[in-house]
Each structure stands twice: as structure tokens, then as C-alpha cells.
């Protein structure tokens, strides 16, 4: 793929083509979860971080490795436990007896794609260690700041907080995740295909990502991100996104509404959605298509609705029907 593009039209074509190729590559091994792949890809290009929720065994690690394989990126994985310390994530400096000097040992956070598994098993102090790097893309170790690799993205998974030994994620940290994506069980046919793929001609319990050929370079991802920022967003679309987010603060049944960061994330995600359709401008449909993953972890429904068995997605879908689409 040629990273040097000539004009806006070429850039648009390049971006749409690149997004399509990455998506297709991931779907080779991560089967039957198109919505999750779509969310992940949009978030990755929009320079965000993803919160994944789903039962174990649905391929969260595979998803990360598949995305990294697309651009020959590095992956890291941290299993969060109650005794995990902040320095176990960021790294620390130790005294080298031979040289009589302190040297820094960088933690697993210095990678392209970091899978923070079961993030809510660690106490808030350790969770907070991720905050700086998620927001600023840099880490402080003993008063020295280090830039993390680019592109960088955190994919965190969490257990339901009702389980024993879990700490609810602080709202500040939740807000720093651009989207929350839900991985559900595959249907019967898809699951059969996964089993075939994983066991064909070998003894294996999982799919591997060796089949994925790199389709984009890290530099081209930067170009992709730059092109995304040039996608045009009309005032009426921005207003539409803001109205949706503001509605979460006044809507009945929602006890905690989304912050302005949600409006920003909505537009950023909608831009990538427009690029996927090779469109140089965002339309209200793009906003609507990203509203659920952007908002579902940023709001809390009232106890009444929880008792009635209403889940957040249902509440958000109702909310979207109450916000008028732009017509002028």
C-alpha cells in the first residue's frame, strides 16, 4: 500500500480501502462478531480505548492479537489481580550493582495494543495507573516521562461487578474508554465454523493469527488517523450528537448521564464510520450507529429500571427515538 497519497479523494479511497482490509483480516480469525470488529476498528482509528465485556472464552485475546498482526504491532497482556501494583503495569527503576546506577525497567504498558484482562479485579490505585497513559499516551516512572509506542490502545475486559473480589471501575477511568463493546456468544453455525478452523489438521484449543498477513504499516495508521480528522462534520450533526448526550442527563430512568467527553467520542467515532463508507462527511446515521458503544458505559440506569429488567442498551435505544434527527 502506498502511504504517499496525492489529494483528498485519494486519501479517502486509501482510508476506506485500508479500513476494509483490516476489517477483513481480523474477520478471518475472529468469526461471527462483526459488530465488535467494527467497534474496535473505529475506536482504534479514532485513537480511543476499548472496554470489552463478555464471558471468558469468546476470543478477546485473539481479537487483540489479530489487530496487532494487521500492522505488525506488539501486544501486551496484563492479568489484573488484587495484589497487582501500579509499578507492575508502568515499570520501575532498579539499582544496578554492576554499574552503580539506577536503570529503568519498562512495564508491559510499553506496547502497541495492551490487553488489560479483568481490570476490575485490581484495586482503584492500580487501575489509576492506567489513567495517565490512556489520556496522555505517556508514562511517568520516578519523575521521568516516557512516551508509549504509537499507535497505542488499551483493550480492557471486566467482570460483572457483582462477582466477589472485584472493584468497580472509577467513573473517571470509565469515561476514558472511548467505547464499551459487548461480545456475545456466537450462533450455532458460527461456532461450528470456529471449531473447524481451530482444529483443522492440528491439536489446538484456540485459533492462531499466523494466517493474517500485515495489510498496513504503523506509519499508514498514523496517516489513516490524520485523514479521519479531516472528515467534515456539519454543525447540525454536531448539534445532533450533543443533543443525544445531553438527553442522557435529563432522561427519566437514567441516574447518571454522560459527560462532554462522550460528545467528543461520538463525533470521533462517527468520522471513522463515515470513512468506512468512503464518505468525506459525517451524516446523522454515523452518529446514531456509534451512540450505543460510546454511551453504554457512561450512563447508569435508575434502580427502578434495573428492577424492571431494563438494560442500558434498551434505555439508550428508547432515548434515541426521543431525539429529533436534523431536518434542516
Amino acid at each position: 500500500m502506498n502511504s504517499e497519497t496525492n489529494g483528498p479523494s485519494d486519501e479517502l479511497e486509501f482510508a476506506a480501502d485500508a479500513l476494509d482490509k483490516i476489517s477483513t483480516s481480523i474477520r478471518q480469525v475472529f468469526i461471527g462478531q462483526d459488530a465488535v470488529v467494527n467497534d474496535l476498528l473505529r475506536c482504534f482509528v479514532a485513537s480511543g480505548h476499548v472496554l470489552l465485556e463478555g464471558v471468558p472464552g469468546l476470543g478477546k485475546t485473539l481479537l487483540v492479537r489479530a489487530l496487532a498482526a494487521c500492522f505488525r504491532g506488539e501486544t501486551g497482556r496484563i492479568q489484573f489481580t488484587p495484589d497487582l501494583m501500579p509499578s507492575d503495569i508502568t515499570g520501575h527503576s532498579i539499582f544496578n550493582m554492576k554499574d552503580s546506577k539506577f536503570e529503568v525497567r519498562k512495564g508491559p504498558i510499553f506496547t502497541n495494543l495492551l490487553l488489560a484482562d479483568e481490570i476490575n479485579r485490581a484495586p482503584a490505585k492500580t487501575q489509576a495507573a492506567l489513567l495517565e497513559v490512556m489520556q496522555e499516551q505517556r508514562v511517568s516512572i520516578d519523575d521521568v516521562t516516557y512516551e508509549v509506542a504509537s499507535p497505542f490502545m488499551v483493550l480492557a475486559t471486566q467482570n460483572p461487578i457483582e462477582q466477589d473480589g472485584t472493584y468497580p471501575l472509577p467513573e473517571a477511568e470509565l469515561d476514558r474508554f472511548m467505547i464499551k463493546s459487548l461480545i456475545d456468544y456466537p450462533d450455532e453455525q458460527t461456532e461450528a465454523n470456529i471449531v473447524d478452523l481451530a482444529t483443522a489438521g492440528k491439536h489446538s484449543t484456540s485459533l492462531n493469527v499466523d494466517a493474517i498477513e500485515p495489510c498496513i504499516s504503523a506509519n499508514e495508521i498514523e496517516i489513516l488517523r490524520r485523514v479521519t480528522t479531516s472528515v467534515e462534520v456539519d454543525e447540525s450533526v454536531v448539534s445532533y450528537a450533543v443533543r443525544i448526550v445531553r438527553e442522557t442527563r435529563i432522561a427519566p430512568g437514567i441516574s447518571r448521564g454522560a459527560s462532554p467527553r462522550a460528545s467528543i467520542a461520538t463525533i470521533a467515532m462517527a468520522r471513522v464510520a463515515a470513512l468506512q463508507n468512503a464518505r468525506p462527511y459525517v451524516i446523522p446515521d454515523d452518529v446514531k450507529s456509534v451512540a450505543l458503544p460510546v454511551l453504554r458505559h457512561r450512563i447508569a440506569v435508575t434502580t427502578d429500571l434495573e428492577i424492571e429488567g431494563q438494560n442500558i442498551d434498551r434505555v439508550l435505544e428508547d432515548l434515541l427515538t426521543r431525539v429529533d434527527a436534523p431536518r434542516s
Binding site: D234, I250, P252, D285, T321, A325, S328
Partner: protein
């Protein structure tokens, strides 16, 4: 009162201990106490069934609670003093004039549980009753408020429990039971059968809680009298006198010359005292050394503890602080009650008393929009004057409204362009194609700033006139 016939051990107790004693009294004589309550309250329940409005039924049944509680109090007082329950004794409690105050202006008094024993059981006049209340409960009037609050909460919980139990036992699945409970709690839409069920639930809850409420108030009353009037000491002295009487009698019977004593000439008490005091043995003194531990033991035996709780003199600052704290607590209680009722009303879909309406608004369809009468002319004028966006916005909005009206596509105000196109998928092909063209050029112009050419505009306008506006 014949305190020697009391069936409970008397001793000065704390507020909580006396409440505990009241609970034990209620548990011990629960059947007769509950029966006395039901005998008196049942006619009121039957009368309430004749009332048409549920809320009035509820208030009627609840308002006469002090009346039913008198029966419980009288029964309890008779049982506590080991008496025989007679109709005459039971009715004696209703002769009190203050009862009518409890059924009118003092109905909301939260000190009813501890005041009623004074009014009903002590045969004193109206003013003396007031003085007795003030004296008896001076500096210790917290129990009644707490008991009233607990009684109220217990009643509410029991009513809900009875209703829940009924539905969960009679309905086949959880959802039906749950919706039945919600329905019955919505008193605006309650049916006749549900009203009867709810009234019976309230009746049962009131009866059970009344037994405990009255018993705790009665035990508090007994405790205060024990502390203030030294009932325990009086009872103790009476027992000692009884025992001493037996010893004296036994001693007299065992004396051999009892008849000789009676035959001696009678001397006055003063003469005997003078003789004793003038005897040389009377002025003799002897020092006895007692071991220290024995001395402490004797002093401990002789020490008389204060029956009355020690009073601590407090300054004016502390009193003001106490008053402020009291008002804050009362305010907090009122706020909690208001909040509780507000949440109850808003949760179960009643008309909210204030604040935002929690009822979910139904999404509006676009067919409610009004369009200009000379629509085509207005669109053309906007286009001619260079207001491209306004012209196409009107064209698109009009197309949406007219398509929705004509084909009943149920297009909502929240539907985006793609959703509108999707909803018009099943309408007549010409109208559908015309609408899709309009939507596409609108999308390009509105969000991509790509204005259509004159030819394209005229073409879609013609399609609009032919396939949408005409229809």
C-alpha cells in the same frame, strides 16, 4: 393498682430494656391481645367495605386505631396484674374523655403509646392527667417517638409482605405476581376485589403491630412509674413485711411465758425508755476492729443505690444545641417521609407531585408537522433566491411528511435519512425512488456541502410533484 399482683419483675430499666419487656409481654399474651383488637376493629372493617372510595376506606379504618388500641391496653393491664378479664373492665378504658381527643386533634400524636396508659388506667381528672404525663415522662420522652416510628414502618412492611405473599402464592409465574403487586399498589386504578385484599392486609398488619405498639408503651409506662414512684422498693418492703410477720408470729408462738407477759402491769413507753437510758450498760462503749475486706463488704451491703437516674445539670449552650439537634432530627424525618412518598408515587406511575414527569414520552411521528400551503412555490422561491439549503430542507421535510401521511410508514422525528429510506422500502416504486433521490441530494448538500446542479434540482422537484406531492 395492686402491684404485688404484678406478673413481671419490677426494677428500674433503661428505655430499651422497657421496650424489650413490652415486646415480651406482647409475645406472652399475644392471642388474647390480638383477639381483643379484632373484636373491636372488625365492625369498623365491615363498615369500611360499604364505603365507595378506597382512599376514604383506608383513612376510615386507620383513623379509629386509638379506639381499637384501648381494648388491647385494657386486656394487657388486666393480664399483667393477674386479673380476670370482664366486659366491665374492658369498657372502663373507653370512658376516658381524652380518647376523643386522640380520635380528633391528637390523632397524629406520636406519644400515644405511653400517654394512653395514664389516661385510661389512672382514675384522675383531666388536669391531673396532664400533670402526670409531664412529671412521669420528664426528660425521657424518646421512647414513644421511636416506638411510633417503628410501629408505622412495621405496618407498611407487613402490608407489603401480605400483598406480596398473596400474589406470589396465587400467581403461576413471577411476572404475573410482580405486575399484580404493582397494580394493587396503584390506588388510583384499584378494583373492588383488590381494594378488599389490600384493606384486609392493612387490617391484619395494624392488628399485629398494635399489640406490640401498645405493649411497649405500657411497659414504658410501668418502668417510669417504677423509677419515679419506687414501685420496686414498695414491693420489696411489702415482701419483707410479709416475711417478718411470719417470723414474729412464729416467735410469739414459740415463747413459753406469753401469757405471763400479758399479766404484768402495763408501763408507759417513756418509763421504759428512761429506765433503759439510766442503766450503766447503756453508756458503755466498746471499740471493735473489723477486717478491711469485711468492712467493705458491709458497706457494700448497706449502700443504697439511687433509684432515680442521676441528673446532670446542663448549661444554656448545651440546651440550645440539643434543641437544634432535635429540630434537625425532626426535619430529617419529615424530609425522609416526603422523599419516601415522592419515590413511591413516581415509581409506581402515579401523577408526580412535583419535578419532572417520569412518564416516558412517546416518539412523535412526522405526520404531525405542518407544511406551507403553497409548498412547491415556496421551495422554488428559496432555490431561486440562492437559499439552496433551505429549499432542499423544505423539500426533504415535505417528502418525509407526505410519504408518512400517504403510506403510513410510521416515520418518527428521530429517524435519520437512512432510516426513512429503509421505512419507505415497501411503498410504491415511483414514490420510493423519488424519495430516495431527494434524500440523497439532501444528504450531500446538508452534510457534505455538495449542492446539486439546476438540472438535478428540477428533476427531483418534478419527481416530488409527480409521485409524492400528488399522492
Amino acid at each position: 393498682m395492686q402491684i404485688e399482683r404484678l406478673q413481671i419483675a419490677l426494677r428500674p430499666r433503661t428505655m430499651w430494656e422497657s421496650a424489650d419487656l413490652g415486646t415480651k409481654l406482647a409475645m406472652r399474651w399475644f392471642p388474647p391481645l390480638l383477639l381483643s383488637w379484632f373484636v373491636l376493629a372488625l365492625p369498623f372493617l365491615l363498615i369500611s367495605f360499604q364505603i365507595e372510595r378506597f382512599l376514604v376506606q383506608l383513612i376510615f379504618l386507620w383513623w379509629f386505631k386509638p379506639l381499637y388500641e384501648r381494648a388491647v391496653l385494657m386486656t394487657l393491664s388486666i393480664l399483667t396484674f393477674d386479673g380476670q378479664i370482664t366486659i366491665r373492665d374492658l369498657l372502663r378504658g373507653f370512658a376516658d374523655t381524652r380518647l376523643w381527643f386522640y380520635l380528633s386533634i391528637f390523632r397524629f400524636s406520636w406519644r400515644r403509646s405511653e400517654n394512653t396508659p395514664i389516661d385510661a388506667l389512672e382514675d384522675v381528672d383531666f388536669n391531673t392527667q396532664a400533670q402526670r404525663r409531664k412529671w412521669l415522662y420528664a426528660r425521657d420522652n424518646r421512647a414513644a417517638a421511636i416506638v411510633s416510628l417503628c410501629g408505622l414502618m412495621t405496618e407498611i412492611i407487613m402490608v407489603l409482605a401480605v400483598v406480596f405473599l398473596f400474589y406470589f402464592l396465587t400467581q403461576s409465574d413471577f411476572n404475573s405476581a410482580y405486575s399484580g403487586v404493582l397494580k394493587i399498589l396503584n390506588i388510583n386504578e384499584i378494583t373492588g376485589t383488590e381494594a378488599v385484599l389490600l384493606l384486609v392486609a392493612i387490617f391484619v398488619a395494624m392488628g399485629i403491630s398494635a399489640v406490640f405498639y401498645v405493649s411497649v408503651g405500657f411497659a414504658t409506662y410501668l418502668n417510669r412509674r417504677t423509677i419515679k414512684e419506687g414501685w420496686d422498693l414498695e414491693l420489696g418492703f411489702k415482701r419483707i413485711v410479709n416475711r417478718l410477720g411470719i417470723f414474729v408470729l412464729a416467735g410469739l408462738l414459740t415463747m413459753p411465758n406469753i401469757d405471763l407477759l400479758a399479766s404484768e402491769p402495763v408501763r408507759s413507753t417513756d418509763t421504759i425508755l428512761d429506765e433503759v437510758q439510766s442503766a450503766p450498760e447503756f453508756n458503755q462503749s466498746k471499740t471493735v476492729t473489723v477486717p478491711a475486706h469485711l468492712s467493705q463488704f458491709i458497706q457494700g451491703m448497706l449502700k443504697v443505690e439511687d433509684v432515680e437516674p442521676r441528673r446532670i445539670e446542663i448549661g444554656i449552650g448545651s440546651r440550645i444545641f440539643a434543641w437544634i439537634l432535635k429540630f434537625i432530627l425532626i426535619g430529617a424525618l419529615i424530609v425522609a417521609l416526603v422523599f419516601f412518598f415522592y419515590r413511591f408515587y413516581t415509581t409506581y406511575g402515579f401523577t408526580p407531585l412535583f419535578g419532572k414527569n417520569q412518564t416516558t414520552e412517546r416518539p412523535q411521528t412526522v405526520s404531525t408537522r405542518s407544511l406551507p400551503t403553497n409548498l412547491i412555490q415556496t421551495i422554488k422561491e428559496e432555490w431561486t433566491h440562492g437559499r439552496t439549503r433551505e429549499a432542499l430542507a423544505l423539500l426533504y421535510s415535505a417528502a418525509v411528511v407526505l410519504i408518512d401521511k400517504e403510506f403510513s410508514c410510521n416515520i418518527l422525528e428521530s429517524d435519520t435519512e437512512s432510516e426513512c429510506i429503509s421505512k419507505t422500502g415497501d411503498i410504491a416504486a415511483d414514490s420510493r425512488d423519488a424519495f430516495q433521490d431527494i434524500a440523497r441530494i439532501w444528504l450531500r448538500l446538508a452534510y457534505g456541502n455538495e449542492a446539486p446542479s439546476e438540472e438535478i434540482f428540477q428533476s427531483v422537484l418534478l419527481k416530488f410533484q409527480t409521485h409524492i406531492a400528488t399522492a
